[in-house]
């Protein structure tokens, strides 16, 4: 008998519940998303979040001589790699959040025109691409933090003479 993947089943249930909440509370959810995207401290929060995640990641690997992984570009060393990660993911997420705010308000609330000479297909493409960028950046930061916590639980193998 095949073993069930409970993690995937849990995520599937979560997404179904999320869709159900969205359908039954469309307007309050849209207002909540709008207020999050318009929040004046969103960019600062994102930057601080990325700095915290990648600094913790750097601290977990800085004295580990056996670490040979990399986040963005490991050629210049661990510190530069972590700094590149903060800058890359920080810029990608804050820019995509700003574009998302414009697209969301223009398409769903029609309060203001942010993208005047863009076709509908371009605007929806921007929505998908920015969602992907924002999601990918957040996922990378959370993965770095999770790996830092897991790595700190791992033990260093000490060689013994043959």
């Amino acid at each position: 008998m095949k073993a069930l993947n409970f993690k995937l089943i849990g995520v599937f249930i979560l997404l179904v519940l999320l869709s159900f909440i969205l359908i039954s509370n469309t307007e309050p959810t849209m207002l909540l998303i709008k207020s999050v995207l318009k929040w004046e401290h969103l960019n600062t929060t994102l930057w601080l979040g990325f700095i915290c995640c990648f600094v913790v990641h750097y601290l977990s690997i800085k004295d580990d001589s056996s670490y040979n992984g990399g986040l963005i570009f490991k050629h210049f060393g661990k510190f530069a790699d972590s700094a590149f990660a903060i800058i890359t993911y920080g810029l990608a997420s804050t820019t995509s959040a700003s574009i998302l705010k414009g697209v969301y308000i223009q398409q769903y609330f029609e309060e203001k025109i942010y993208f005047n000479h863009f076709d509908q297909i371009d605007i929806y493409s921007m929505l998908v691409v920015c969602l992907f960028l924002l999601g990918y950046s957040l996922y990378a930061a959370i993965s770095a933090l999770r790996n830092a916590v897991l790595l700190s639980q791992a033990e260093l193998a000490i060689p013994v003479a043959d």
Binding site: L8, S19, L22, V128, Y139, L151, E155, L156, V160
Partner: protein, 104 residues
């Protein structure tokens, strides 16, 4: 991919901080075929690799971020996340299988 050894008495897994693509590389990295961890001596041949599971996390992240696009956004976000996570898992599984097949 994470490398681990199993405690001989309790059977518990202890993860190694070191990473290597094969047992030979691990032995070269350590400079020895045997090592000490958790007050027990192990041979490099006892080290096993297990792959990380990213599909569920990536699917959840994609679905949650997709909320901005409504229900279609949740479905598309979840699907994209699952596909990306699955592809990373497949790569990781290939790496861990390669390590587990390797011999000194």
């Amino acid at each position: 991919m994470k490398l681990y050894v199993q405690n001989r008495t309790t059977g518990e897994k202890t993860y190694l901080k070191q990473s290597a693509v094969s047992r030979r590389e691990l032995a070269t990295q350590l400079g020895s075929k045997r090592f000490q961890i958790d007050k027990q001596i192990f041979s490099v041949n006892e080290v096993k690799a297990e792959n990380n599971s990213n599909t569920a996390g990536a699917m959840a992240a994609g679905g949650v971020v997709g909320v901005v696009g409504g229900v279609p956004g949740v479905i598309i976000g979840g699907l994209i996340g699952a596909l990306l996570g699955k592809s990373t898992d497949s790569e990781d599984k290939a790496k861990s299988d390669k390590f587990n097949r390797s011999q000194l």
